[in-house]
């Protein structure tokens, strides 16, 4: 579904991401993990058109995404939930959700999807007239995901959806994401927690210093491989438990 080839992103003279290849198949959850500063968020922003590519290409189901603006890319089926939720705090829950209607030509289909996301996240209906900024962190994250779902994405990309949330909230959130996967949604998730990534993802990409240093099916990647990719060679660190 998603084919990222030789993606490079520069911040001025700094090469933030270099030669990254990522593949996501339909119906998969793929996690991108790695230490802070590895280039994960930069990669997500580049996929969504927020940052320009220095080189490489991004295709979604054979349609080129690279070179297009964020608003054009979301119309082509890739929706990004930014790190930190980015709820419009002065807008009500309903207004936050209705913003996504702009990319939809069919208002009936949007209405049906709105009904569906309100079933997935029941608090949305109860708090439809509440301002987004007054929701709890977990509710804001769910609102951000619901809002992205309403753009009718073929690929939902999430940058650290668990960041800053209580463990019980994270667990509930990932249960919902797994339900969405069962409904056929394809997801690419940036995740800080290696343990959580291994639990939920079909496949993993580990990034370090702007490159993909390890990739494979979750069940095939051992903890030792992961630690080696994260921290360097085993010989340098010894036995990291």
């Amino acid at each position: 579904m998603l084919d990222v080839r030789e993606l490079s992103v520069d911040y001025g003279p700094l090469h933030a991401v270099r030669g990254v290849d990522i593949h996501v198949s339909a119906g998969e959850i793929v996690c991108l993990v790695g230490p802070n500063g590895a280039g994960k968020s930069t990669t997500m922003l580049a996929l969504a058109g927020v940052l320009p590519l220095a080189s490489g290409s991004v295709e979604l189901e054979g349609t080129r995404l690279s070179g297009f603006s964020p608003e054009e890319i979301v119309r082509r089926g890739l929706s990004l939930v930014l790190e930190g939720r980015h709820i419009f705090s002065d807008l009500t829950v309903r207004e936050n959700l209705s913003l996504a209607a702009g990319v939809r030509g069919d208002s009936k289909a949007f209405g049906r999807d709105l009904e569906h996301v309100c079933k997935v996240f029941p608090f949305l209906e109860e708090r439809r007239n509440q301002r987004g900024g007054t929701l709890s962190g977990g509710e804001q994250q769910q609102l951000a995901i619901a809002r992205a779902l309403l753009t009718s994405p073929r690929l939902l990309v999430m940058d650290e959806p668990a960041l800053g949330l209580a463990p019980v909230v994270v667990q509930q959130l990932y249960e919902v994401l797994l339900d969405l996967r069962r409904e056929g949604l394809t997801m690419l998730i940036v995740e800080q927690s290696m343990e959580r990534a291994v639990q939920v993802a079909d496949r993993l990409y580990v990034m370090a210093s702007g490159r993909v240093v390890l990739s494979g099916r979750s069940e095939e990647i051992t903890a030792s491989d992961m630690k080696e990719a994260y921290f360097g060679t085993k010989s340098e660190l010894g036995d990291v438990q």
């Binding site: 927020v50 608003e71 807008l91 702009g102 709890s136 800053g164």
Partner: protein, 295 residues
């Protein structure tokens, strides 16, 4: 009863400052640009009224609004759109350049001397209610301000374009990630700014009966001050601050001894300095910002 007349004067003056501030604030909220050309939009609108003088007032008003909207939209299309993504300083200098260009075009065409305008002469008469005399000009100014403030509020709250503008003003990047067209939102903001600039042109020409190439400077200055006092990007704050400046301006006019009245604006700016010293982020900034991360 004198106090009621002073209050009316204050609301009338404050309305002009509030509309100037909103015109500046609506662009700042979306683009982070302090548009120095806004005063020149007001000036061009005033000169258009001069060109149209003698024609029916409602036709002049409608045509002025259209012309200033087109001017604002053209500025966005041909100056700011090519600079999309540029740094704030670049946009600021570009807005200076646009303002300078417009002023010099007006100077070349009309010369540097002020011109008298036959516009709204029927508004100079007063209406007496009890012992209070209210000029029709004040009624016109206040009514126009009220209509525009209600109209702007309804536009921002009840329309799709307004919702998109509010979202873009809050978080432009996130708005784009939801498919909101950046160019359309910015163009809408410029169009709204154009309507507000045209309204200030109409009010100023109706009040002074004259146009000059420098007439946009004072509304620009007071608009900026109101925008800053209200908290940059905070539209209700900017409108409120515009009225505060209007009340302060009339207040100084009333309370200062006659010898000091010519220095009224100096006292007003001293008050502004005190407000900034006490509230560096603007009076209402704290109400606007979101409450930070929550778990």
């Amino acid at each position: 009863m004198t106090i009621i007349q002073h209050l009316i004067d204050a609301v009338s003056a404050g309305g002009i400052y509030a509309l100037a501030a909103l015109g500046i604030g609506v662009i700042f909220g979306i683009m982070g640009l302090l548009n120095f050309a806004h005063g020149n939009f007001i000036m061009v609108g005033a000169y258009f009224i001069f060109l149209m003088s003698g024609r029916p007032i409602f036709i002049v008003i409608a045509m002025t609004v259209v012309v200033v909207i087109l001017l604002a939209l053209s500025t966005d299309r041909f100056v700011f759109r090519p600079l999309r993504g540029a740094e704030a300083a670049t946009l600021l200098i570009a807005s200076f350049a646009v303002g300078y260009l417009l002023e010099n075009i007006i100077l070349v065409i009309f010369g540097g001397r002020p011109k008298t305008v036959d516009f709204g002469h029927g508004l100079v008469e007063s209406v007496t209610i009890g012992s209070v005399r209210i000029s029709q000009l004040d009624i016109f100014t206040i009514a126009m301000t009220v209509v525009l403030l209600i109209g702007l509020t309804l536009f921002l709250r009840k329309t799709r374009y307004g919702l998109e503008m509010r979202a873009a003003a809050s978080d432009f990047r996130m708005a784009r990630l939801l498919g909101i067209q950046a160019n359309r939102v910015v163009a809408t903001a410029f169009a709204v700014s154009g309507v507000l600039a045209a309204a200030v042109s109409i009010m100023l020409v109706a009040r002074t009966g004259a146009v000059s190439h420098g007439m946009g400077l004072m509304p620009l200055l007071f608009g900026f001050l109101a925008t800053l006092i209200g908290g940059l990007g905070n539209l209700p704050g900017a409108a409120l601050a515009g009225f505060i400046l209007g009340f302060a301006s009339v207040g100084f006019q009333v309370v200062l001894p006659p010898d000091l009245v010519p220095y009224r604006d100096a006292f007003l700016f001293a008050l502004v300095v005190i407000i900034f010293a006490l509230f560096p982020g603007g009076l209402m900034l704290g109400l606007r910002r979101q409450g930070g991360e929550r778990v």
